[in-house]
């Protein structure tokens, strides 16, 4: 009897505890401006960033500039944080004062339940003109009118090519269409035994920067129909992407290609396949120019916009852009100081220039563009022009975060190795799955 009593008490007690704390107070974001910073008070804030290694050091350097401008604020920059950790922290209440993410995929996740504070009122109070951010950047920093993050450095993607190999193969100019890319890739490939000593170009979704999102703009493929449903099956661009991908993977032989990729060296290490001459051409972001400068300075390389799909040559010159987003989680202990930090990184021209030059990223603050352009290397100039090209777009902000993209890529990964069945059916399946995912993410079950 005493046993059962204890058990019952335990159950009831915990039930009361849970019910009592049931849900954090008001999920809706109160549209209030963040209070102004009390400059007389000493504070230390935590800033979570995804940078590691040398990049982390560079970010800390720029943050020191912020500390000099705000003497009573100390910033503790913590690296190697990814979106999952930020979301987990937000759910468990153990949040930093500010955080930065490498992708804008989770903007909706951050904004929709007030996970990150709504910055709109503060932006208007401080008189920041959001038109100083390019349209794509404005698009991926807000969800349903709630801007809960600021853009801080952006990425654009283009084609890197090894000039020495081009010369040896007699290729005079980088490819502008997908067919030319395929042709050049085959010309530049050097087989060795059962494998390759050089692969011309690998489109293998999942390897390095190959992803559906990065190819979307140059294949002219949209993610959503005008009604907001998934356009994976209806947009011909996605079919073209899948077919081109499979064609090239089959050319190499998928097993041989996977083997090559397994030994290719980590993307962000000094043994990156393009930097070590194992890959003749590669899709990559603008940050690679900085990495090549520091880790493979002797590499003779050129950059160009990504080739456009055949028949869509007007898209050439554009590409995909996304960027870092930075915001203040709900429950941050020092939101005023945090706001000072993120607005400094996002809108202070000098900070933007420094970050752009050090990290080799594209500045999102338009006034900073001119300064960066003056000192940018020719290879980096490509990315600046891609960034400001009218055909450059980004992925739509959706409540399921990156899950939709992952769903599509899971299928592409199967299709490219021959395990995807019939393409049309596969794409339709993906589209309906994505629609169901979005419905689930907005609090429903099945549409």
């Amino acid at each position: 009897m005493t046993l059962r009593a204890t058990a019952a008490i335990g159950l009831v007690a915990s039930a009361i505890a849970i019910a009592g704390c049931g849900g954090s107070s008001s999920g809706s974001s109160s549209a209030e401006a963040i209070p102004k910073l009390n400059t007389a008070e000493k504070v230390t804030i935590n800033y979570w960033v995804p940078f590691t290694g040398s990049e982390l050091g560079l970010v800390r350097k720029v943050v020191t500039g912020f500390e000099k401008a705000n003497p009573n604020v100390k910033v503790n920059v913590v690296g190697n944080i990814n979106d999952e950790k930020i979301i987990a922290a937000a759910h468990s209440g153990n949040v930093p004062d500010a955080a930065l993410s490498f992708t804008a995929d989770n903007t909706a996740v951050f904004c929709k339940d007030g996970t990150f504070l709504n910055l709109g009122p503060t932006i208007s109070r401080e008189g920041i003109d959001v038109n100083n951010f390019p349209p794509s950047q404005r698009a991926y920093t807000e969800y349903k009118g709630n801007r809960c993050v600021l853009p801080a450095m952006a990425d654009t993607y283009g084609l890197y090519y090894n000039k020495a190999m081009f010369a040896k193969a007699g290729i005079t100019a980088p490819p502008k269409t997908i067919s030319e890319l395929t042709e050049d890739a085959k010309k530049l490939t050097v087989r060795s035994g059962n494998g390759f000593s050089v692969v011309g170009y690998t489109p293998y979704i999942g390897f390095y920067e190959n992803s559906a999102a990065h190819y979307g703009p140059t294949f002219g493929a949209k993610w959503q129909t005008s009604e907001g449903k998934s356009a994976i099956a209806s947009e011909p661009g996605w079919t073209e992407l899948a077919e081109w991908d499979k064609h090239l993977v089959d050319y190499y032989g998928s097993n041989a290609l996977v083997r090559f990729q397994a030994g290719a060296g980590e993307e962000f290490s000094g043994s990156n396949a393009f930097m070590t001459g194992k890959l003749a051409m590669n899709i990559d972001g603008e940050w690679r120019t900085a990495l090549i400068k520091s880790e493979a300075p002797k590499l003779q390389y050129g950059t160009a916009p990504l080739p456009a799909a055949d028949g869509k040559s007007e898209l050439y010159g554009g590409g995909y852009t996304t960027g870092n987003i930075t915001g203040i989680p709900k429950g941050a202990k020092h939101p005023a100081a945090a706001w000072k930090l993120i607005s400094y990184l996002a809108t202070n021209t000098q900070a933007e220039v420094e970050l752009a030059n050090d990290l080799g990223n594209v500045p999102t603050w338009i006034p900073a563009r001119e300064q960066v352009q003056r000192t940018a290397s020719p290879q980096f100039q490509t990315f600046l022009s891609v960034f400001h090209n009218p055909h450059t777009t980004t992925t739509p902000v959706v409540p399921s975060g990156e899950a939709s993209q992952k769903t599509f890529e899971n299928y592409l990964e199967k299709y490219q190795t021959g395990n995807g069945g019939e393409l049309k059916k596969g794409l339709e399946g993906v589209a309906s799955q994505i629609n169901a995912l979005e419905a689930q993410a907005t609090g429903g079950g099945v549409p």
Binding site: F102, R259, K414
Partner: protein, 323 residues
């Protein structure tokens, strides 16, 4: 003192003793009781409740009725991949580990010299922390540069893709499971050595060959241990997580730029049920849906172990029984 009063005193003393005993038991069992209620019974009930809601920890749960279950059984594309992968594990990994452990135990039981050293050698990998063992294995089985494929190439064999191939990833995980079979091995070894030698000798005298001796003497004798191994194997297969998580991450490479996890790499081959559950619960914070997944897992686990235990009465011989 009259007999009635004496009896009454004795009765009261007995009751006092009973109360004292009950208090002692309550004291001894209290920590467990609290633990069981809070960390076992309550979560089971709460999971059941959450499975009917949408809950992401930020706002209170909202009632969804059966929507989560509908999504789970009808729409979710990755769920059946996860179920199939875990079932594959139960069908392949469990027999493989049990048979291998039993086989090696039989082999070791016949070794005369160095039995202790051999036992240590075979037990060592089981000691290694799972993360360490998996990392090591992932490196060894790298299809491009790993030692395994390098050595195979000396013999002119082109090694398979191991953890990077959709059809070879799970078998490679089984190899990892065989390497770590030390605990089962020790238990089987003890059981085999425990087989009454008198029975074996009389069987041999009756003319039974090695095989018949095994099937009719050894096997029944170790059948309780066999049952234990199977049940433990099935439970481990149902909660298989760490190896798949680490191996997929290593095999895909450190694409640290995107936060997209490599879960299930390659092509969903390593997406086991607990991995997918982890993604739903702690990747996407769909706590309601993930709870529905745990309810299903609970039912399957109970059904499977119940089935095995019921079926076991037919083939397990406990010591001292006669059949």
């Amino acid at each position: 003192m009259s007999a009635a009063v004496a009896a009454d005193t004795r009765a009261r003393a007995r009751t006092r003793a009973q109360w004292r005993r009950r208090r002692t038991v309550a004291l001894l069992m209290a920590p467990w009781a609290i633990g069981f209620s809070v960390f076992f019974a309550y979560p089971l009930l709460a999971s059941f409740y959450y499975s009917f809601t949408h809950y992401d920890l930020l706002s209170p749960p909202t009632w969804l009725g059966l929507a989560n279950y509908e999504y789970l059984f009808k729409t979710d594309p990755q769920l059946w991949t996860a179920v199939k992968n875990t079932l594959w594990l139960i069908a392949v990994m469990v027999p493989a580990q049990v048979l291998f452990a039993m086989g090696v135990a039989l082999l070791l039981s016949r070794a005369r010299r160095g039995a202790g050293a051999l036992r240590t050698i075979f037990y060592l990998p089981a000691l290694a922390p799972i993360v360490a063992a998996t990392l090591g294995f992932a490196y060894l089985f790298n299809p491009a540069n790993g030692p395994v494929n390098t050595i195979l190439s000396w013999f002119g064999i082109e090694g398979p893709l191991w953890l990077n191939g959709a059809s070879t990833a799970k078998p490679t995980l089984v190899l990892l499971g065989l390497w770590s079979v030390g605990n089962l091995l020790i238990i089987f070894l003890a059981a085999v050595l425990d087989v009454p030698t008198t029975l074996l000798e009389s069987a041999e005298l009756d003319g039974a060959g090695a095989f018949r001796r095994f099937f009719h003497v050894t096997l029944p004798s170790i059948s309780p241990v066999l049952l234990f191994a199977i049940v433990i194997g099935v439970i481990d297969a149902l909660q298989y997580f760490t190896q798949a998580y680490v191996a997929a991450g290593v095999a895909q490479g450190g694409q640290a730029g995107e936060s997209a996890k490599a879960l299930g790499y390659p092509e969903g081959a390593t997406l086991f049920y607990p991995i997918y559950l982890y993604e739903q619960a702690f990747g996407r914070f769909n706590m309601g849906y993930a709870s529905a997944m745990t309810v299903v897992m609970l039912i399957v686990a109970l059904a499977l172990t119940g089935l095995i235990l019921r079926n076991s009465r037919r083939w397990v011989y406990y010591q001292g029984e006669t059949r």
